[in-house]
Symmetry: C2
DNA sequence: TTGATTTATGATAACGTTATCAGAAATCGT
DNA sequence: ACGATTTCTGATAACGTTATCATAAATCAA
């Protein structure tokens, strides 16, 4: 059982074959392929006929040799070990970008290789991509610094510190955090714990961690609340469970917990339940994040949520638009998460 | 605020520039780039020096013009509307493939555009990809038929009916279903309901639906059980909830429910709870599927699970290996899901 | 020392396409 | 009927690379 011979045996049909079959010159075929003016209808028909009969397909690389763009974008998530990605990258990011790219006539690469400055530049220089969409942008991101300096096109999902002349779309984590507290305080809660991004995110200067933290500090001040928080791995349930145990040990009188991830929230609910707290009667839980699973856990999860699909779709659209018209203004979009109230939050007793 | 000029203004450094700088001919530089024999060490050093100083990067498209492969794979999921994808495509599939591709020196495209036979062939003919990894393969899949006939390299995640000479890796859904029943029957359950793939999956001849069904029928026969099932959308929680209500209406004495998706299982548990069944005391729930959330819902979910990451990693490896050595034997791998017992199943009373 | 081999380099021709130019044929205005 | 324009087509030269061949220099075997 061996695979049959592979395609390399096929002699490719070129524009020259088409020209010969249609009895015209090569440039004429090229003109027809590129919808140039000044081609006789009769000739066009004859050539198109030949193209169809021969099953001719333009050789994209040959076109690029003449300076044509590659019509390819790439989504880049910087990562040490790809196995760890799953819990952080959400599939809608990839799908949204792929959908938008495809709609605009672009291919989408998904890059998870570990890039060095050199390899990053090579991707552009060698024409592999026309533009990049950067995920997981840190406040001082080497990719951003390099691409900005070298003047290669890219769009961020997320944002760095210096945003001058850069296009991005990001979630407003700061506002999200404040709204989370507003919601709980409005329900009468005063003892609110927080389970948030892992410490290494904060030390690495990653946007969500930084902006959440800023929001957290503003919220505490705004409502004069005490600070009870743990930084946990987003991977999940176990981490949320353990951190909640730990938090309740320190502060058993908590009446609400905010988690910046659905899986962490799920773990938190399990821990609360196990320690005899009823959710939401004794303790409310609110998540900041996105996922169908919000409806699946018991009680269903009140959350500040957004559509990752939309975000990456928009980011990709910004990129393709800027590639089409180079002098488009930069776009800077902050998406406000919306509060969806389900069963896991309730008035404080 | 306009983006600065884009890269098209940059004159690219070519092999000719390097040759001039190093005082050698163009072919000599090419030889060094491609690690050919017969180059003097002194020359090599001088050229490498020039390459580094000029920041030269080979123009990949020009290479491909000479017949070099594109070193690009694509993952293809056939889809009508990309927005509907999220619940079906799992991120580990994408990440596993991207990781394997990157490790083997390939790029990975994620294709969600709706392909026609023509556009599919064009992707190969125009050298966009060297090989494809097909997801969501149906028993009689036009992509498979076409690519097999035209002899283009591809690997399936999933499998069609006629597997001669084709490489695939797939989950053994049939065995999974039987093991699910075995587990429950061993616990003393006789009244078992099934929530499975949507009807349109079955009518479309999609592998998971077909093989699950086969397993279901064998399991019923093996244990002489009655058939109680609903076909539901995998998108989720609501669907699982409604279907469970419906199923219990018909057969309130059910003591176990099998779901072919975690979100559906979550919905099912909610429905059971709402109707006053305790899980697992009154009714066990078992899921066939994969997801960290299994630990997050209450009770945590007993499941027949697998690693999507591993599966797509393997599939990609098979593809790259076959591209490297054309006469490699085809690989046909069936992955057996493994039973992970958590809290949602228990002996029948 | 001689001829054969090995080692190192360069000239040249492709790969498939498009841009530029030049020229031929058709159409137009007077 | 004439030149001026418009419409159409084809030669030719690139784009950046690698393969092939030829040749020159260095090394080797006797």
């Amino acid at each position: 059982m061996y695979p049959k011979k592979f395609s390399n045996s096929k002699p490719n049909i070129t524009i020259a074959d088409v020209a010969k079959a249609a009895g015209v010159s090569i440039p004429t075929v090229s003109r027809i392929l590129n919808n140039k003016v000044y081609v006789a209808d009769e000739t066009r028909d004859r050539v198109n006929q030949a193209i169809k009969e021969l099953g001719y397909v333009p050789h994209i690389q040959a076109r690029q040799l003449r300076g044509a763009p590659s019509q390819t974008l790439a989504l880049h998530y910087p990562v040490e070990s790809p196995e760890m990605l799953s819990s952080v990258v959400e599939i809608p990011y990839v799908i949204g970008a792929a959908a938008a790219a495809s709609k605009q006539g672009y291919f989408l690469n998904f890059l998870v290789s570990q890039l060095t400055p050199d390899t990053l530049l090579n991707i552009y220089r060698s024409n592999q991509v026309d533009g990049l969409i950067l995920l997981q942008v840190s406040l001082d991101d080497w990719r951003v610094n390099l691409l900005r300096e070298q003047d290669y096109p890219f769009v961020m999902i997320g944002r760095c510190a210096n945003l001058e002349d850069l296009s991005f779309i990001d979630l407003d984590f700061e506002t999200a955090m404040i709204e989370a507290f507003d919601h709980l305080v409005a329900l009468g809660h005063r003892e609110i714990g927080l389970l948030t991004y892992p410490e290494r995110w904060r030390t690495a200067g990653l946007g969500p961690a930084a902006h959440s933290l800023a929001g957290y500090e503003r919220a505490l001040q705004k409502h004069s609340l005490g600070s009870y928080y743990r930084e946990v791995e987003l991977s999940g349930v176990e981490a949320g469970f353990a951190a909640t145990q730990d938090l309740l040990e320190e502060r058993p009188q908590l009446t609400a917990i905010i988690a910046t991830n659905h899986l962490v929230a799920a773990g938190s609910i399990k821990a609360l339940t196990q320690r005899g707290y009823r959710v939401p009667e004794d303790c409310s839980v609110l998540a900041i994040g996105f996922g169908e699973i919000a409806n699946g856990i018991t009680p269903s999860l009140t959350a500040l949520e957004w559509s990752s699909y939309e975000v990456s779709y928009q980011a990709t659209l910004i990129m393709t638009n800027q590639l089409k018209e180079k002098r488009l203004p930069v776009q800077q979009i902050l998406v406000a998460p919306r509060l969806v109230i389900r069963e896991s939050t309730k008035e404080a007793i």
